[in-house]
Amino acid sequence: MSFQYAPAPESTAIVNIKSSNGLFINGEFTPGHGTPFKTINPATEEVLAEIAQANQEDVDAAVRAARRAYDKTWSKMPGRDRGKYLFRIARLIQERAREFAVLETMDNGKPIRESRDVDVPIAAAHFFYHAGWADKLEFAGYGTNPQPLGVAAQIIPWNFPLLMLAWKIAPALATGNTVVLKPAETTPLTALLFAEICQQADLPPGVVNILTGDGDTGRMLVEHPDVNKIAFTGSTAVGQAIQRQIAGSSKRLTLELGGKAANIVFDDAPIDQAVEGIVNGIYFNQGHVCCAGSRLLLQESIAEKTIESLKRRLQTLRLGDPLDKNTDIGAINSREQLNRIIDLTKSGEDEGAQRWSPDCVIPEKGFWFAPTVFTNVTQAHRIAREEIFGPVLSVLTFRTPDEAIEKANNTPYGLSAGIWTEKGSRILAMANKVRAGVVWANTFNRFDPASPFGGYKESGFGREGGIQGLGAYLTSEESS
């Protein structure tokens, strides 16, 4: 008899999803003026709630509220007090952590283990970290009297809905800006719960406004003349469109876009931890991670053995009900994304790469994709160049460190990279040579509010988190 884990589902009794949800403007929930849409649970395809679609009128109202709050309250408030609001928010997220985690998992499809242990605690930590900055900005290296920019329009993706909200809102508020944030169309629920948190914290009305909607809402927000700053996380294509849209304006922009990170494993790596790092690098959050280690670069001398170990390890991954505390791989967030993954993996097969997945039972309902490994991949394959944003690993090999660096950097992206070796000097040399904003050496996919995150090249510009992240929301004193 083998050790079967009985289902251990997290109870959903803790969440209270309203069947119909409004926009959060000027501290109040108000109906939207566009045609409402529905958000579903991607693991079951059940409708969770009806969501308001913000149209131009709503965008105008939200920006107006944000501007008023900026002029009248927030920019005038001492940093010390702004900080206290952020501390309150951090505490409220902690207090309602379970609720956020369950809601995130239901709306997004990610395993509860991840929303509970990663998304929600780090989101709270972001508010806590930035709260402390609010009255210390003159020490941050942006001159003696750094000033906020004004109203920030923030557009976030569906892969880490609450965490990305925290990455955006916490630094913006700490530096004295007010925000209008648009969550992703398929994952609006935790942002709306966050709006409730703002009410519970007695945050002055208009400081945070949440507009649900689709790409059109985002576009209207970006184009709104009274917005001073745009912060976007999402695909490179949309990032480029935004960069074009705001050309000629004085709007400040930060972009956190796609990636195709190399995870480089040398023959002297701590191999068991490297295998874990490979798994965590690409199968964490179903691979819906812009910094995912989607290209595995294995030194040829250990390639075969490592692939064997990796496959053995993948057989222990548990795919299924995201609410089950033992689930490792949850649902793909949407049918659209699933189709994209299917399309790209098909191209991998067509181009001659070898496809492998562990045996796993795919649930009948919902959007699922088994963890997949492609071997015999070359740099020229689409699956080695395009961001798949799914649980799909492309394995390439190299012979020398030079070749590893060359292949790692041979991409228009430059968000992250992994390096696995026990040799200290090689780690530092590799970390120095790889053109990427975040380098994980002997670890992968670690995040912290104190640690700046962001890319080189087409992975975007600007940083989120850390002292450098503050710069995205402050004017710097410059005479030339």
Binding site: S2, F3, Q4, A6, D117, D272, E276, N442
Partner: protein, 311 residues
């Protein structure tokens, strides 16, 4: 060094280069992996299954200076029938005692469960090889069918792997048909790199089991240490097709802890190792917590310390 002595580097060249070539262990990564597996939620029927499995894997142990034949006999009868009120409760795997009390244990348990004896100048291992071999032989002669030996940590830490290896080989020979568990005393080896090295060294020298600790040194068994040992066992199996057992001993006190170890076994080496033949808990107080939990799972209400036997 006199020219008459055999230099270990000469006689164990292959062993030394093999150990030097083992991949390193990143401690933070290993701890993170062990902690992640520790968050598995084992409920309901899987918990009942796991508790019974854990009970059947216990080496019920007493290793005190104050041990007597009476104490050992009482413990041995509990080993056979851990919960007198519920005969469906499995027996433990073995009782584990000092060599001079093996006879007392054997008197009670007969052939129904194993009797393990700690030997080789347990727990420090600081004695001559002759003394260690005599210790072993006496225990086997008294009826022990499992020998828990300690390695010479001093020799290991000075890099004298050959000496450690040779001692294990010699003790294994002295064991005859008795199974040999080799205690690495990981709390003194300190690093996970050393744990991996010592695991391989012991397996290559003929260990049937590798065991974390004597229980006399803190820390004793930990999840990361056990993880690294399981990985070594897994890799050894890949190379030799031989399954070596692992015994986590010392410091495991609760059912919750025990279940974490079973998860670790299940997801590192697979369920082929989920048998008392290949995984053991060296413990004394753990058994009672397993019994309390078992009663709770079966009756549906919480039990109390007065409802499990002391021994």
């Amino acid at each position: 060094m006199s020219s008459l002595e055999v230099h270990p580097a000469e006689s164990h060249k292959g062993l030394l280069s093999f150990l030097a070539g083992l991949p390193g262990v990143d401690q933070v990564g290993a701890e993170a992996r062990a902690a992640a597996l520790g968050t598995r939620s084992i409920k309901k029927e899987s918990k009942i299954w796991a508790i019974d499995m854990a009970i059947s894997m216990v080496d019920l142990t007493t290793l005190e200076g104050a041990d007597t034949a009476g104490k050992v006999k009482a413990m041995s009868s509990k080993a056979l029938h851990p919960d007198p009120a519920d005969p469906s409760t499995p027996s433990v795997a073995a009782v584990c005692v000092y060599g001079d009390l093996v006879y007392a244990a054997r008197e009670v348990v007969g052939d129904r469960i194993h009797v393990a004896a700690v030997a080789t100048a347990f727990p420090s291992g600081r004695a001559s090889l002759g003394v260690k071999l005599a210790d072993t032989k006496e225990a086997v002669a008294a009826g022990a069918d499992e020998i828990d030996m300690v390695i010479d940590r001093g020799a290991f830490l000075t890099g004298n792997f050959g000496k450690v290896f040779d001692e294990i080989v010699a003790v294994k020979q002295a064991c005859g048909t008795a199974h040999l568990k080799v205690i690495l005393e990981t709390g003194e080896l300190k690093t996970l790199d050393n744990v991996r090295k010592a695991s391989w060294l012991a397996m290559k020298a003929g260990a049937d089991f590798i065991k974390t600790s004597t229980g006399k040194v803190t820390p004793a068994a930990t999840l990361p240490v056990t993880l690294v040992m399981l990985e070594a066992v897994r890799d050894y199996y890949q190379e030799t097709n031989t399954r070596i057992g692992v015994k986590a001993a010392g410091g495991i006190k609760t059912s919750k802890d025990a279940i974490k170890y079973l998860v670790l076994v299940n997801e590192t080496v697979g369920d082929a190792w989920l048998t008392p033949d290949l995984f053991r808990f060296g413990a004394s107080t753990l058994l009672n917590d397993l019994l309390l939990q078992r009663q709770k799972m079966i009756t549906g209400h919480y039990s109390g310390p007065d409802y499990v036997t002391i021994d």
